[in-house]
């Protein structure tokens, strides 16, 4: 593989250039530019329908969307050419806004399959059953996920809060380099929010980065962003520091809409 855009000097983890994407012929992303360096936390905010979830799903490789233009470099790799599973192996993790229920597939089997697929990708042997269960136990503690949930089918019958905690638990197991949290705060009460955000913060390091997609400032009280971007009508229309989120909270989104 050749990496034409590998700008080592700038040490970018993610470099999104003029990304366009559409679904069923309708263009949703109309030229997104975004750069994320290791250790950074970026917040992407914006009104409903601005393309926030689409951006996260396109980065994760959801086949429902068609990329119609632009490129994405992920630590030296052409992200858009990778299958969703290889993006995962390379360290991209999406915490879904609406995690799907998969009846009949137990959480244990699911995580084991995911973890071992990643190990295989990097030429490692599958993890022993004992080590795996130990790991699961250890990671569950991070988000205070009940053991009972882990023995159930993936997301089936989970409450909204349990689903989000389960997402962060999976993030803990897979140890991604870039985590995209898509409206992880939606539908959470304050206690659940604290637990989820606490989990995210425990997993932060200088090497990994986080993109927090949110509608409200609330989550950013717990996960402090370095940069705040405002996505509107398929484009990032404004970028600033944490103060931008506060300003948005005060002035609402109409201000953005009027300006654009």
């Amino acid at each position: 593989m050749e990496y034409t855009d590998n700008d080592m000097s700038d040490n970018l983890l993610l470099d999104v250039k003029d990304l366009h994407a559409s679904i069923e012929g309708k263009e949703i992303l109309k030229g997104i530019n975004l750069q994320v360096r290791p250790g950074e936390v970026h917040a992407i905010m914006g009104p409903n329908g601005s393309g926030k979830s689409t951006l996260s799903e396109v980065l994760a490789g959801d086949p429902a969307f068609t990329v119609t233009g632009g490129e994405v470099d992920f630590h030296g790799m052409d992200l858009l050419s990778l299958s969703p599973e290889d993006r995962s192996h390379e360290g991209l993790f999406l915490s879904f806004q609406y995690p799907v229920e998969i009846p009949g597939v137990s959480m244990v089997n699911f995580m084991r399959a995911a973890l071992n697929a990643k190990r295989k990708y990097f030429g490692e042997d599958p993890m022993s059953a004992g080590d795996f269960l130990k790991l699961m136990r250890q990671k569950r503690a991070i988000v205070e996920l009940d053991n009972k949930l882990a023995s159930r089918s993936v997301n089936e019958g989970f409450s909204g809060g349990e689903k989000k905690r389960n997402e962060i638990f999976q993030m803990a197991v897979l140890e991604p380099r870039l985590s995209i949290l898509d409206e992880t705060d939606s539908g959470l009460d304050i206690d659940a929010l604290r637990i989820v955000a606490g989990g995210v913060n425990k997993l932060r390091s200088d090497d990994n980065s986080t993109i927090v997609i949110t509608h409200y400032q609330r989550l950013l009280d717990y996960i402090k962003p370095d940069f705040v971007h405002i996505l509107y009508n398929g484009r990032i229309v404004m970028t600033g520091g944490p103060e931008l989120a506060l300003e948005l909270e005060e002035r609402g989104y109409d201000w953005i809409k009027e300006a654009n």
Binding site: A60, G61, D62, P63, A64, S83, P84, E85, R87, S88, H89, F93, L94, F96, P99, V100, E101, I102, P103, G104, V105, N109, F110, M111, A113, A114, L115, A117, K118, Y121, S153, V154, Q170, L174
Partner: protein, 449 residues
């Protein structure tokens, strides 16, 4: 000319030899069967109950019948070397239609329990045969009558009152013949009041290249408070045809848990008829079909609620690949005499390839208003959203697909009452979905779980 005619002619020409190889009690039933076959025909695609499967055509080719009862040796070890590795059963083997008990079966069967050759039981316990054989299946049915006409032997499982079997009984049917062969197989399962048993039946073929046809009639009577778990696994070759008719009568408070798994087959037509004739009887009928190549899998059910306060549930799942064709025709009939009935049915199907076909016909016939009945049927694909979710966690698409197909079958497998059999079924299903031959005899090692 109806395909029945060749068997009628065969009988007329050879009835003395046929009778010689059987028991007088069974022979006495043949004239009535012959009469029932006059002008009769086997189900065909012009029949409402058999729109997509022509039994007539299954029986049309010229199969041999082993009337003279020539002994055909079979390498049993090679045929199912690792069958149910973790399940300890009392086993009997039927090669074509010859019954052979294993030594453990002979030595360890509890007092009073019979698991033996029909021919032998007909001589030793004529009372049982007179009371039950051909008393549960309708004698006017052409398939049943043909089976009665041609059967020379069969298997009887008899559990006396209040005897609960600790170990499952296992019946292994094997086809083996140097020439194309038709076998008329018979199974009679009687559980007297309060008796309890688990029975595993599996169908195998010795030689994939040979053509086989099974006419299988099973009659089951469950006494008051009796409980039967019956698990039928079909692991035959693509050249095997099977016409299996199962008739059940359930008395008060009896329980039936019948699971049918079509893991590998050629053309198979299964008719399940359950008559709930005692109050508070419960019937659970489940099935799973994995269709590949040009397999044709047809399940036809009729659960007849004839008295009040019975409970029935049917759950059938099909995953059809290759150019296979699946048929589910599921019936619930609630008679005017059956108030407070609870009857459910669910049939979900996945078409995994462009050429696979599925026909579903869930039927409700309800003649009184004190009922809780529902049915649902879907034909579709694996959940794309779930597939993406799994891939986004790093699980390769092919593996995710297998996991989803297994999950699709999970609730059916979960109904199986024997844990080791459940594990085995999960393994077989996984192998089948992974594109490996899943017939028991080919898997060299037990599962790693």
């Amino acid at each position: 000319m109806s395909s029945l005619q060749q068997y009628i002619d065969l009988y007329r020409d050879n009835h003395e030899a046929l009778d010689r190889g059987s028991a007088p009690l069974l022979n006495a039933m043949r004239p009535a069967a012959l009469k029932a076959l006059e002008g009769a025909r086997l189900p065909d695609t012009c029949d409402e109950r058999s729109q997509y499967t022509s039994v007539e055509q299954m029986f049309a080719p010229d199969y041999g019948v082993n009337i003279a009862r020539v002994n055909i040796p079979v390498d049993i070890a090679a045929t199912f070397a690792c069958n149910l590795p973790n399940l300890s059963t009392l086993m009997g083997i039927v090669v074509n239609d010859f019954f052979t008990p294993t030594s453990t079966l002979v030595n360890r069967l509890p007092q009073g329990v019979i698991f033996d050759s029909l021919r032998k039981v007909a001589t030793e316990h004529p009372d049982i045969i007179e009371k039950y054989l051909n008393k549960i299946a309708p004698q006017t049915d052409s398939g049943v009558a043909l089976n009665t006409l041609m059967m020379q032997d069969g298997v009887v499982i008899y559990v006396p009152q209040h005897v609960e079997l600790a170990k499952p009984l296992q019946l292994v049917n094997i086809f083996s013949s140097p020439t194309p062969l038709m076998a008329a197989r018979r199974l009679l399962i009687i559980l007297e009041d309060g008796a309890k048993a688990d029975v595993v039946v599996c169908d195998h073929t010795q030689d994939d290249a040979q053509q086989y046809l099974a006419s299988q009639v099973t009659e089951i009577s469950l006494g008051r408070d009796a409980s039967l778990g019956l698990y039928t696994l079909e692991e035959a070759s693509l050249r095997t045809s099977r016409y299996a008719q199962t008739y059940v009568k359930q008395h008060d408070n009896s329980r039936l848990n019948h699971h049918y798994a079509a893991l590998a087959t050629g053309v198979t037509r299964n008719e399940f008829t359950v008559d709930l004739i005692g109050e508070h009887a419960e019937s659970l009928l489940t099935g799973m079909a994995i269709g590949m190549d040009r397999e044709h899998i047809d399940c036809n059910t009729a659960i007849n609620h004839r008295v009040a306060r019975c409970h029935s549930n049917q759950v059938f799942r099909y995953v059809m690949g290759g150019t296979s064709e699946g048929v589910f025709d599921g019936g619930i009939v609630v008679t005017p005499e059956a108030p407070y009935t609870v009857a459910y049915q669910s049939n979900r199907n996945v078409l995994a390839t462009a050429e696979a076909r599925m026909h579903s016909k869930p039927r409700l016939e309800i003649y009184n208003d004190e009922v809780k009945c529902s049915h649902g049927a879907t034909i579709g694909q694996l959940n794309e959203e779930a597939l993406f979710y799994m891939r986004s966690r790093g699980i390769p698409a092919a593996e995710a697909r297998v996991m989803l197909m297994q999950a699709f079958m999970a609730d059916v497998i979960d109904t199986v009452g024997l844990e080791s059999l459940r594990d085995r079924l999960r393994h077989l299903v996984e192998m089948r979905f992974s594109g490996q031959a899943a017939t028991c005899r080919r898997c060299s090692e037990p599962t790693d779980n």
